[in-house]
Subunit: 343 residues, 4 copies
């Protein structure tokens, strides 16, 4: 089959590849319809590695996918040929201790699409475990289905935050993950969200997505704004979708007594942490790694239109133009959020 | 001042009453603007008692109120004259053990408006602790402010449920409390709500309030509907806003493994409980008594329009027509949800 | 191999049986050393059924077992030949939705030893998944290892209770499960436990197991005792290990405001539930079905001697005397708690 | 009355002082029996300040106290003259938002003994709110009563950790707070605790306090030890009672996937935080500031002897020798844990 292959750093090719994928009884074969480009795909394309994960052999890119079930394993009872689906890209070892505890995202032996040496899904078909393949509601498009993966990060963060209905939240950073986190926080019970960035187009888009107040931290003091809006109390929750050295201090500044901070962004090096500033507020910190158990929840929220990710799908390319899509994703327009490829 | 006084069972009078209400340093005096009529007010009017609470002396009715701050105690820093506010009707003992633990609604010595022998708020002014008086957002009307009290019951139930984003909920009963509970469940993170009743007008109204599926349990099988909608899994949460003997069995039938049931309705006698049916699903049960700490959250959610209670305010009367309002509330039209009196 | 077979109701035989048990890569073969007799074993012996589970063909009894690893599957990395182990008797479907969520005890397709039609472990060897086989600490005997299964019920209840350090608990019922629950509650953070029964020998034994106050409810008023001991506040937690119609009322009577009740005992029919009595305390109810994820915790607590179940092993029989052991277990001495068979 | 007064940095005097302490209706007057010396007392003595809290006027020291009720306010119902008691040293504003939420330790207007400008309790009598005065069980001595305050820090940490029965914990640091935290973790449900330090006498004492494994981090690798003891999994909980720059890295190294770290020690400056190392384990962090609601729990655990702090009371002085006691506390023997003064 033809696939988008990262041959080596900065060299993509759309070419034939032979992948031996037998269909075991618990698997389905899915014809891919839409694949979103993630920042990690772009990073592998540009740099050939992310931390300890180094591309040492040609690898198919892509891990945000939706498609149609084409073949069903003998033991599968939850899906049928023709079902429109999206897939969770990480397959854990069912026998590992984290998996059995329900923490399958923390299984160190997980096989995750387009994380070397595992091939991704920018190709016509994939074989995938039925347990990690989810039926799309009728009113959810393939494009939205391919957005479930990034949305899952925001929802997992919202889950960990343990939102109480009516909480006021701050999201640091209005990139794609910041935006889905703001949507997840609102859908998950927050009354409203302050979102920060320094790029006006991103803030302008974010402001259209719900009860979201954009804050350009170049011009405005976030802490003052939030305190004024909350009678001096502060934000119940802060989601850090940036992960820069200043994030923690900013999060602690706007946080209310007894509040919680969810660390989503991944700083490149240790950041300074003012423990005493956290203690005087008894701040709780949650950290997340990918997600677990949230795909069905994302689909429920999309199906009931409590979350509508369609404004985030800003750019679409045909499969034949995949390399152009990646080159665009390296330097997108400032109004761009998510680039998708349709097969 | 003139007040709506329940002289004895079935006898209301709008008449002068002398109430000695000194303003202590932590109090405010509020000019009442709107008061909603609650089922408990109607019940005292008709029966003179609710359980152990018996009206033995003339008592002013009303406990759902909004108004304007008219005078401010010396130690009050959070409110100013002219502030538009609503009030939490129960005043606990600050020194009781439940109050110190944050469970002030469980303080047995709480003084609650229009619960004998404590006078209610259907009168021109009340003196109230600033700590239980909350400023209305600019876009929230007095009528909505007077709805915060019933909404607080639904929000407290949503809080206790510990909703995870995307949960599917069932609300049993589409009376006023069922409706605000459905709204609270959606605002608090549920993807959608099935609401049951046997009165078509109530179900029709409920269906307009959000991602709410009305189920007339006279004609439809709730369990089948919910299981079909959830791939056979069941509802994550069930809120029982009815409290009849069959509620528990119905709640357990539709519940998913590991789900939770919140008991809001107050049955008149012990109900049969199939413990083993609960155990095979490891059902969790939460019970609620009034509410605690949710007025500010209700106002946040109203202010950001995540909750809009205006469709529930179906009938308005002038203060001079208070007795007519109560007589209407005894036998309201089927489309009626909340009757309010404006002073 | 020779096994203790329940041929039909009231007819046990120690006889040869052929069981085809291939060792798959994730399994171990365990030579059984000790098996405890559970109330359910006795019930199948006497009545041939428990609820919907009917013994329709000869079935080996026993599900509380410890032994030695004799053979190890190719993919097993956590165990070695010679390891002393105990086994979790229920094997869920790794692909079911409850299992993936970490709620494997709620998987309706679980295969559980000595629950028809699945054979139990009163036989020389069993093949078992390594993931449900746990190494005993060096200082934990086989007898104690075979007690992990019943202890797991108490620990799971303690887990669900969400004990806060220093909580005061009440355990209703001083049978084997009541006793392990009291021990689990103490080990799990309670400061002390009141345990009830009507049999003086059981109460006398319970009183030796830790900070446990025995209460003979024939002679003493539990509610008065607990309130006196807690300054009128009540017990933070109540574990119902009896499951009779009066249990719920008794649990609610002694409970403190905001407390929790864990329902362990399985009443034979629906019980009356005073919902309003629960609501005025905002009681939380947890129900349990067997256990999940607690075997390693039980072994940690035994290994550090925070839990010492040895006083509960009151009677031992040789495998050859298995039928005598069961006949004794049908009508044990009042001082008897756990009968074990050694192979 | 005569009191131990810190006149200025490094100058203590035992001298007469006039304190105007009227007894309001909710207060009790307590005759002080025992007062423990805390590290903060010693720090004020030596340096005259802790962070923003500067001693600008003579101040009575001491905040760990037990004594006897001598006089009771008119509204007090929970205490009687002659009751043996200990006192919580911080008095919050009952009307503040944190206090009403049950987070009274986070009230910024709290008045805390021996925190400038509030006088401490090293004097014959104090007037204190009954709500923050707790009766000692009969078998708890005044010395133990005066230990409740430091123990409360450990218990609050254990509370925040949300221990599950059988958790394995690590406590970094075997100073007084490390030791009470280890005891609280064990009493609160942990199966065992690894405690670290570099001083052999402290580790030797800690090893006598329960299922505690001492680890001298000068000689031993904590991470290796814990992993070996937990089958490679790691510790469920880490309590950092040190608060040095390396603590966080060490805590993250020994932590299991999905585990939690409680930050008790207060570093003097921001510490480096490897966010990604936390994320790959989805570590949760809790921070604590003093304590709330744990004095009654500490007393329950002392009364049932689940916690026995007597081995920690290593040095006793008479009130007349208070200055000598402080001078000793500045440079104690390595085997010293808690120095107390008896009035």
């Amino acid at each position: 089959m033809q696939a988008l292959v990262l041959e080596e750093t900065k060299r993509l090719r759309l070419r034939d590849i032979t992948l031996d994928e037998p269909l075991t009884p618990h698997d389905v074969r899915v014809r891919i319809h839409t694949v979103g480009i993630c920042g990690s795909d772009v990073h592998y394309y540009q740099h050939g590695a992310i931390g300890p994960f180094v591309v040492r052999a040609p690898m198919v890119l892509g891990h945000e996918a939706a498609g149609v079930v084409e073949e069903v394993g003998a033991a599968v009872t939850t899906l049928r040929v023709g079902d429109r689906v999206c897939m969770e890209p990480g397959i854990p070892d069912a026998n590992s201790r984290p998996t059995r505890l329900g923490l399958y995202n923390l299984d160190p032996t997980v096989r995750f699409w387009a994380t070397p040496p595992v091939h991704g899904c920018l190709r016509p078909t994939v074989v995938h475990p039925a347990a990690f393949t989810f039926r799309l509601p009728d009113n959810v498009s393939f494009g939205e289905g391919a957005m479930v993966e990034p949305l899952a990060v925001g929802l997992h963060a919202a889950n960990k935050a343990r939102i109480k209905p009516g909480d006021v939240a701050v999201v640091l950073g209005a990139g794609p993950i910041g935006m889905v986190t703001a949507m997840a926080a609102l859908a998950g019970g927050c009354s409203r969200v302050f979102i920060t960035d320094v790029q006006p187009p991103k803030l302008a888009l974010a402001a259209t997505l719900g009860a979201i107040t954009p804050v350009n931290v170049r011009d405005e003091n976030l802490g003052d704004l939030v305190r004024r809006a909350t009678g001096g109390w502060g934000a119940d929750l802060v989601f850090d979708a940036v992960g820069v050295p200043q994030s923690l201090a900013q999060a602690l500044d706007v946080l209310c007594p007894g509040g919680a901070i969810v660390l989503i962004g991944m700083p490149g090096a240790p950041v300074p942490f003012d423990v005493v500033a956290a203690q005087v507020k008894e701040a709780r910190f949650e950290t997340i790694f990918r997600y677990a158990h949230v795909f069905p929840r994302a689909l429920e929220l999309m199906g009931s239109r409590k979350i509508d990710v369609r404004p985030l799908i800003t750019d679409r390319y045909a499969f034949a133009d995949s390399i152009a899509a990646f080159d665009y994703a390296v330097r997108p327009r400032p109004t761009s959020v998510k680039v998708q490829i349709e097969l």
